[in-house]
Amino acid sequence: MADHGRNVCVTINGEAHERRVEPRLLLSDFMRHEAGLTGTHVGCEHGVCGACTVLLDGDPVRSCLMFAVQADGASIETVESLADGETLHPLQDAFRREHGLQCGYCTPGILMTLKPFLAANPAPSEAEIRKALSGNLCRCTGYQQIVAAVRLAAAMLRGEEP
């Protein structure tokens, strides 16, 4: 009964990617192996770690819990969409300045979770930040610097920090 091919067209970071894929191909693997966008990381492949979080039509979702065929016609944003050439996005800049990452495995999923969060809540409290990040595991930092980076990013996005 296996189904060996289906045409899909997924827009990732503004660019259309048309492929023939097996229905069982995960969206995370489509992005990494078919579109060559390896910025999105894959940790657990069962929804727990959050490393694979991307924006699906603007909302953060687990790309390991979707099939590429389900994203046919959708618009995806990945971590590669953040920087403008050599200029880092304020979120990335803040994570660098506050040491919000060590190995960086969790970072792409965290940044893509935070982008819509800070757009909706430009001045979050620490409790709100921690709740927003509850679905993203980091095994390196202990989260303290991540929370500090989010505060800095929020201030930068509000125009209060250079």
């Binding site: 009964m1 492949e45 959050g50 953060p60 927003a132 509850s134």
Partner: protein, 290 residues
């Protein structure tokens, strides 16, 4: 950690989805938000030959209020219902409980119908739907039928749905004027399944010794949501005075038989049942009559 091969269909009409399910029988599985099913596929704990994706059936995604009854399409996303102002006004217990399901990224895909059809024994929504006397609409090859929450949840990961039946809609009646609600959950971490969760509704009533009618539902202690009739009787008899909540909590704990598991020993869960029932009663009482 890659899913086994399967054939894939994505109908746009409920009738087409039902006919696919009835043609393929036990080989077919509906795919809703995928937040429980895709992990099972990735672990290869499930190997359906064909997935019937419900995500392109627009008719299943609606959330409306009609004559005071909340009608939730089975494919309504948990995040959408959580953010719905009409739901928050009329059924704040539901809004509150959804906030305890996993994390925002998961609620953006996870559906109300998927959680109810999956019926994980520690899931929040089945407990809340049982407390709220929800009615499930199911559609199968023989037509449409209505199933009361009490019959719908049939034990750990079991429901009254036949394999070729789709859950299409959940109807939640309006809460009687003055109903107070409480919801308490203990989990190991933010977003985890409940160790124990308790939903309580208290409403002023003409009948009953104390002028109060109570509904107490506990989950996390065994086969899924359980109505605690002993605790309800205590509250109906004693009302909100004295140590009625203490007694209700003890009655609920007495009726619970949680087994030991790696997350918590049974005795700990029973203590949680007593404490959370007490707290949910207090919460509900402060909101009653407003």
């Amino acid at each position: 950690m890659k899913p086994p091969p399967f054939a894939y269909e994505c109908p746009t009409e409920v009738a087409d989805a039902v006919s696919l399910l009835s043609t393929h029988g036990a080989d077919a599985r509906p795919l809703a938000g995928g937040q429980s099913l895709v992990p099972l596929l990735n672990f290869r704990l499930a190997r359906p030959a064909i997935l019937v994706d419900l995500n392109r059936i627009a008719a299943l995604g609606q959330v409306t209020v009609e004559d005071g009854t909340l009608r939730i399409g089975a494919m309504a996303r948990q995040a959408a219902v959580e953010a719905d102002p009409g739901v928050a006004r009329g059924w704040p217990l539901l809004t509150e409980a959804i906030g305890h399901i996993a994390h925002p990224q998961i609620r953006n895909r996870g559906t109300i119908g998927g959680s109810l059809a999956h019926n994980d024994p520690a899931a929040e929504l089945p407990a809340v739907m049982l407390a709220l006397d929800a009615e499930m609409t199911a559609q199968g090859p023989a037509g449409v039928r209505t199933i009361q929450a009490e019959e719908f949840f049939a034990g750990t990961m079991e429901t009254a749905l036949a394999p070729d039946e789709l859950l299409t809609e959940i109807r939640v009646p309006a809460l009687p004027q003055g109903t107070g609600w409480g919801f308490q959950e203990a989990a190991r971490r933010q977003g985890d399944f409940a160790l124990v969760a308790v939903a309580v509704l208290l409403r002023p009533s003409g009948s009953g010794a104390s002028g109060i009618e109570a509904r107490v539902v506990v989950t996390g202690t065994g086969d899924g949501p359980q109505r605690m009739r002993g605790a309800e009787a205590v509250l109906t008899e004693r009302g909100t005075g004295g140590d009625a909540y203490e007694e209700a909590g003890d009655a609920a704990a007495d009726a619970s038989e949680p087994a030991d598991d790696p997350h918590a020993p049974g005795w700990y869960r029973r203590k949680l049942v007593a404490a959370l029932t007490r707290r949910a009663c207090r919460q509900a009482a402060t909101r009653m009559g407003r």
